[in-house]
Structure formats: C-alpha cells, structure tokens
C-alpha cells in the first residue's frame, strides 16, 4: 500500500494517477487497440478526486462521456477500465460500453452517458430513492457547463429543490462545449441560476486544487446528509486536450495557448512534479499491468451480442 504524508498528498497522488493513465491512453491510442472515442479529462483531474474524497460507501455518482477521472476517483478498477476501452470481455461492462459509458456500481459509479445532460435527472432519481428508502446516501450529478443549457437541467434542479433531495449538482466548468465558449451559449450565470431554485451554490475558482474542491464538497455533503436539500458547486477547470481524441488543439484558433499556459501555471501535478516523483514508478507499473491485462483478455463471446437486452 502506498502511504501518504497527508490528505492533500493522497489526492494529488490520485490526480497524478489519473493523469498518467490518460497520458498512457493517448500514447497507445494511435495503435488502435482502443477502438472507441475518448474524451480525456487531462487538466480536470483535481475536480474528480476532490469531489469523490468525501463520499462514503453507498453514495452514488453519475457521470458523463468524459468520466475516466470520476470512475477512477470513485475507486473503479483500472484493469476493468482499460479492458473496457480495449473492448474486452473483462471490461467493466464486458466490452459493451467503451470509454463513454464507464460504470462501477460496486463503488457507486453508476454510469455515464454520451448524450449530454442525460444522467442529471438519473442522479436526482437516485437521490429520491435514497431519501424515500432512508439510506442516508447522497448522490453526485457530474456534468459540464454545456449540459446546463439542456432543458432537462432546469427540470432536474426544480424537482430536486422541490423535494429537498440529497443530490449535489457538480458542474465541471471548463468554459467550453466542444469548441464553443460559454458566452456564445449561455445568457445566465451558473451559480445565480442555481440559486434561483433555492439551491445553495458555491464556486470553486481553483479547480486545479483537489483540497479546495474537497472542502466545498465536504461541506455540501454534510448539508445533504442533514437533509438540507440539494446543493450546487461550480468548479472552474481546464481541459488540456482536444474535446474528443488525444490531440492538443490550441493551434486551431478557438482557444489560445496562453489560457492553457495560465492554467498549467497553477497545476499542482506540474508544479509539484518533483515531490510527486516518488509515486511515478508504482503508477507506471499499475498502468502497465492494466494494459497487459486488457491486451491479454479475451474478446466478448458472440453470444454476448444479444445478452442483457430486455
């Protein structure tokens, strides 16, 4: 077992692990061993590890197509994730999900959808179940800034607030939906909008800092467990890679390399690289193991095609 000086180091380690996993995915992607689109969270890892840290057994998380980070932060198996990306029978969904539909219900990661905003009401529903069944569990709805434009977001906030459901709406605001900036898509302020439903909203400007995210989520989780009704947290963050795929697209004109540089200047995984160096070898070994596992795993049997339909 890896040991950590403190909680911050533990979270940085987790973030680093996610980054290295995704960097490795990018590295092997050209070989076509992963035959599925990948939406990388490079730059956004701290949000996931900070947000999942305060969760307990029984709590649930619903994610998006960009969920490598949350899947791993929840404790999803790296081997099963890699095997899933490879389309193998040993994948977390037996090779039917690919990168966009990761799931690990055994650790509360309930699934992720490639249709933007679609899991938000699902998270609200899971919170309804928890409330009605009195489990004491809370649910995290994770989504991007673009997702808030969908009507179902409005419907979800309203219902959650009406029933004071234990759901935390967590927005990863990277300022972009594919190549569109928020200003060309949104006429509202995210926090002000959420507050309009009577939902307490907080902003985390330093989404690069897992401890900052953790602190806000911890507070919110306490309120949720106390039955105080839904919460909203907006985390500023930054996506280093292109929207989908492994490239860097700072040269195509829709965003500037300067913005990227500014974010990197805050990024603890870069700034504290020396201190984190001691974890690198173990992480690399773990990744190598997962890739080996995935590569060596069998393809799904043909009869899986019609299994679990209805």
């Amino acid at each position: 077992m890896t040991t950590f000086a403190d909680e911050r180091e533990r979270l940085l380690y987790q973030a680093l692990r996610i980054r290295r996993v995704e960097e490795h995915i990018a590295r092997i992607y050209p070989s076509d061993c992963i035959q599925s689109p990948v939406h990388l969270s490079l730059g956004q890892e701290a949000v996931a590890v900070g947000a999942c840290a305060p969760l307990r057994a029984g709590d649930r998380v619903f994610g998006t197509y960009r969920s490598h980070a949350f899947y791993l932060a929840c404790g999803g198996s790296l081997r099963e994730m890699m095997a899933e990306l490879f389309g193998k029978a040993t994948g977390c969904a037996g090779g039917k999900a690919g990168s966009m539909h990761l799931t690990a219900p055994e650790v509360g990661f309930m699934g992720s959808s490639a249709v933007v905003a679609s899991t938000i009401p699902n998270a609200v529903g899971a919170a309804l179940a928890a409330q009605r069944l009195g489990t004491g569990a809370i649910t995290l709805a994770v989504f991007g800034d673009g997702a808030t434009e969908e009507g179902v977001y409005h419907e979800s906030l309203n219902f959650a607030a009406l029933h004071r459901l234990p759901v935390l709406f967590l927005c990863e605001n990277n300022g972009l939906a594919v190549h569109s900036h928020r200003a060309s898509r949104q006429s509202y302020d995210l926090m002000h909008h959420a507050r309009g439903f009577g939902i307490t909203a907080e902003h985390c400007a330093s989404g690069f800092d897992p401890m900052a995210v953790r602190a806000l989520v911890e507070m919110a989780a306490q309120a949720l467990r106390a039955g105080a009704g839904p919460r909203f947290i907006e985390c500023a963050t930054y996506r280093y890679a292109e929207h989908v795929g492994i490239g860097d697209d700072h040269d195509v004109g829709y965003r500037s390399p300067a913005d990227c540089a500014a974010w990197r200047a805050h990024d603890p995984l870069i700034l504290e690289a020396a201190r984190l160096e001691r974890f690198e070898a173990a992480i690399a070994a773990e990744i190598a193991d997962a890739v080996t596992f995935a590569a060596a795993s069998p393809w799904p049997e043909p009869d899986a095609l019609l299994r679990d339909v209805a």
Partner: protein, 364 residues
C-alpha cells in the same frame, strides 16, 4: 382462451379502470419500493380514476404529483429504479411521452445493455391513448411503434381488464424490465367479465393472447381494436357464418410469432388492425413476421387497418373517417373472407366508436 368481453354495466364485471386501480393499489400495498408519480396522480380525478385515493392511503411520499417535465421525470424514474424503487410513472396522454423520448430511448432502453448487464431498470410507464372526441392532432396518437422499434423496452397495449391485471401484476412483481404501456381512454369505462380465478389467465404476461378461434380470417389487433374485432367477428359469425380468429397482440415489442404465424398458416387470410398509423407500425411489423417466415401461407393480400395517414383532425365527420371503425373492419373481414368487395353481407349499423364506448360525456 376466448375470455369473453361484455360491454355492459354490472356489479360482477370489472372495468378497465377498476383493474388499473386495483393493480396500482395492490402493488403499493404489496411492495414498499413501489411509487406512483405523475401529473395529477394525487388529485380528485386520479388519472381517470385509476389512482384515486391512493395518495391518501399510501402517503404523499409514495404517490405524488410532479412538475410538468416529462423528460426530467422519466430520468428521475430511471434513477429511482437504479436506486431501489419501482417507479410507476403516468402520462395522461401518451403524446406527452414524446417529450421523454430521449430518456426512454437513449437511457431507459439501454441502461442495462450499455453497462454490460450490471443494472436492471424495473419501471412502468403508464400512458393513455387519447381518443374520445375532438382531441385533435396532439392528443390522439398511439406511438407504440416508436418504442417497439427500439430494443430494450417492453411495449404493451392492454385491451381488457384481464390483460392489465395479469401484465401489471406480473411485471411489478418481477421488477426487471422497463415497460411502457398504452392504455386506451375509451376502454376505461368498459366492463369486462372477470376471469373466475387467476389460472384462467393462460399466457405469459408479455405474450399475445388468442381471444377467439376461427378458421376463415386471422385478425391481429391491438388495444380497443381487439374489442372491435371481436364485435365484428360475432356479427359475421351470426350473419354470415364467417369464423374470425382474433389475436390480441398485447405486447408490441414481443409479439407471439408462433401464435400469429400458426393462425395465418391455418386461415391464409390476415388483417392487422392497429390504433396507430400503418406505415412503420404494427401493420408493417406483422407483415414482416409473415414475410420472413412463409408468405406463401397468404392466400390473399393482407388488409391493414389503422389511423388515416394524416394527423388527427377534430371535426367529428373527419374523425370518424380518420379512425378505424367497426363497420370498416367488418367490411374488410367480409371482403377478405369472401374474396370480393361485393360480399353482400350486411354490415353492423354503428355510430362512431367514441359514441359506443363513451359512457362519459364532455371534455376529456
């Protein structure tokens, strides 16, 4: 087999509405994880009487009104199902389920498969087909085909009290699959002879149902057209000795192929009568089953009966042309049985279907 229908009033009969109310009540009583959610489920009208009083009996945390937000509420139901509840969601018109197609088709239908079988989605979406009168283009549709096209959903169209009881009770008990049901507004007031005991329900809750045996023509019908087919069959048996076999499709997503193909093999003559449009609908699907299996069984072209290929108009005169009628059905059966449109068989005199079934009067 041949569970009989009676459109009459009697204390010993069970109305469609009563069957609905009973299944809702019993599910709530039996299983604490069951919830009923929908616009107006807790009001004094209670979804045409099918949920009346249940909020009082079982409490507002289990039977509750929801905002006007069909897509969101379907997503909530799915999430609740994943979280351990059995949600029953209602739409007072099935047309409103069209606002929830994203959740139903992209999420509910796929949640189990897409995640490699790691989840089940036990839930029931109850929707009402809105024919009564003057409902117009947006309160009259019957979109079973849209949902039955998509693997992962179970699509049922109960035509009678017995099919509601058997299907809903079994499904809500089993809790494994997402079901969308299309209940017909005009059936709510119809009283059906109750099966004397449970074993009289002879079939799997999701199969098709052989409602009447006959050697001359096979009619595969859905929802209220099952009743119309039975009325036509009785008329034609009485007046012309034509024996019609009536198959209640019941489960549009999982039709009983053997029953249908076996019947067509015997009669050689097929009519499909559905509550929706024929194109890409039940009529088309049943033709596919026959064509893939053995089209040579057909001794004549298939007759398909459904809504006219247009949105629904409100004027009564147009509405009566728009919807299939007993008269039209009888005429088509007679023509097919006799092999000529000049069959000379007297047709039942009838007012429009809405007049026949509508005990209620006035707006909805």
């Amino acid at each position: 087999m041949g569970l009989a229908y009676r459109i009459e009033e009697s204390a010993t009969l069970v109305t469609y509405r009563d069957a609905l109310w009973r299944t809702m009540h019993d599910a709530l009583a039996r299983d604490p994880s069951v919830i009923v959610m929908g616009q107006g489920v807790d009001d004094h009208k209670g979804i045409f009487g099918s949920t009346t009083g249940l909020a009082t009996t079982f409490g507002a945390t289990r039977v509750f009104d929801v905002p006007l937000a069909e897509d969101g509420m379907t997503g909530v139901a799915l999430g609740a199902a994943l979280g351990g509840l059995y949600p029953i969601q209602t739409h007072i018109r099935c047309d409103f389920a069209l606002l929830a197609v994203n959740q139903l088709v992209n999420m509910v239908a796929k949640y189990r498969y897409m995640f490699g079988g790691r989840f089940r989605v036990p839930m029931l979406v109850r929707t009402v087909i809105g024919r009564s009168w003057g409902q117009g283009a947006q309160h009259s549709q019957s979109p079973q085909a849209l949902f039955a096209h998509v693997p992962g959903l179970v699509v049922v169209l109960p035509s009678a009290a017995d099919s509601i009881t058997a299907t809903y009770d079994a499904l809500i008990g089993e809790k494994q699959v997402p079901v969308i049901s299309f209940e017909h507004r005009l059936l709510y007031d119809v009283a059906f002879r109750a099966p004397a005991s449970a074993p009289e329900w002879p079939l799997a809750p999701l199969g098709s149902i052989l409602r009447r045996r006959g050697r001359d023509v096979t009619v595969v019908a859905t929802s209220i057209l099952v009743l119309e087919a039975l009325r036509a069959a009785e008329h034609l048996a009485r007046t012309a000795g034509i024996e019609v076999e009536v198959i209640d499709l019941h489960c549009a997503s999982h039709p009983d192929r053997e029953m249908i193909l076996g019947s067509v093999a015997r009669t050689g003559r097929l009519i499909v009568a559905d509550t929706s449009w024929c194109a890409y609908g039940v009529a088309a699907e049943i033709c596919r089953l026959v064509c893939e299996h053995d089209p040579s069984a057909l001794r004549a072209p298939v007759t398909t009966i459904g809504m006219a290929p247009a949105p629904c108009p409100t004027a009564k005169t147009l509405e009566d042309l728009f919807y299939p009628s007993l008269r039209r059905l009888s005429d088509e059966i007679a023509a097919l049985a006799r092999g000529t449109r000049q069959h000379g068989i007297e047709l039942p005199a009838e007012a429009s279907m809405a007049d026949v079934y509508k005990k209620f009067k006035g707006p909805f």
